[in-house]
Amino acid sequence: MLEARIAAKRLPSGETLLHDVALAAAPGDIVALLGASGAGKTTTLRILLGLDRSFDGDLRCRAARIGAVFQEPALLPWRTVGDNIRLVTHHAAPTDIAALLRDVGLPEAEALYPRQLSLGMRRRAAVARALAVDPDLLVLDEPFASLDPRMAGLIAERLAVHVRTRGAAIVVAMHDIDRATAFATRILVLSGRPATVAARLELPADASDADRAAIRARLLDSFGFLADAPAAL
């Protein structure tokens, strides 16, 4: 569904931010990009979304519909949450929108404006909007930031259900090792300057709790700095 090879991504200053980053996502994959702040996760996602084309390498994306959650929720402030969702999809019936908002824990938000919601609620509204297009590929930048553990769990479960039932793929940038090992089927750690893929770990959907715990321990052992990363941006 998605194959990217970023040989090099340079900043306008000439500094190389990313070097030799390869990433692929097939239907059913949940690929977590872990890395400290400034490691290049958001830049990688922008390249995957086709928003940044100034890199050496190549990108092949065969997704018919893409949903995205940006670091800033990017909701239109002059439209209600319901209208923000309707904006990106022509076919969403009122019941679909109500169900989506209920799934992300915002059952009462359809008629509210984004400024009436907290940052965490806006982020969840952005998740609902991304799901509304019934995407083959979801690209998510810190979707669990500003969410309490219960709400983060609810969102993770809703996203996992979409992957399972629709055969979609997810590429998600995040900080949280615990969440990544519980949620992802593959973990890529971006580290170094320029950033490169420092670790690539497979976590099959049927991996046991012991397997996940072992990978979590390995990640903490090798990339302990990630455990210190702030939970919310």
Partner: protein, 258 residues
Amino acid sequence: MSQAERRATDRGALFRLTGLIGFLAIWWLAAQAVASPNLLPSPLRVAIYTWHATESGDLPRQMAFTLARVLVAFVIAMAAGSAAGYAMGRSARIDAIADPWLVIALNLPLLLVVILAYIWIGLNDLAAVLAVVAAKAPSVVVTLREGSRALDPGLDDMAAVFRLPYTRRLREVVLPQLAPYLAAAGRSGLSITWKIVLVVELLGRPNGIGFVLNSAFQNFDVTAILAYGLAFAVIMLVVEAGVLQPLERRARAWRGDA
């Protein structure tokens, strides 16, 4: 509207009325002091003249000519200026190419533009309207260029990723962000446009308020100058307060509490 807000509005209206009465009183006193109706007629004399000019149909007729020119020039200047300002705000390359043109256009003396338009195009309404557009559009370009530079790149990204069609993107994402800039350009635009139209009419049209002012000037008829000039200014103020200010408030409405 709460009672306190209504009281504040009433107080504002009272102050404005006081200001207007004060202006008329000073005018009347000055007319008494000058004691020459040909040099400075009293407010009452101007009001009576205005009434007769309205009754005879000349004032409405001349005003219609001028209003039509103002409207056409205003719409073209806003449309062309907005399109150019948007393009310059969105593209550094277009901005670099067009900026020297804009600087020249902003600094061209109005008289030069009007005279050249009449010489090159002829003494007709096309020349008159184009001269007004050329004089007004550059300031619209500047305002809309600033507005386009302030567009939220995050919303652009969202629109691109969700593949919003271009017209939808323009209508739903771009225009609401530009609305305050369009409203500001429109408000200042109208007040400048009608003043330019009077000059254009004075220099080369056989009708309109500017033409009447020129004829009255030739005859040293201050009463006619004040009657036609003030009547037109009042109409423009009504349009500004009754149409453009509400539009601007609407453009900014979403920023308040919903």
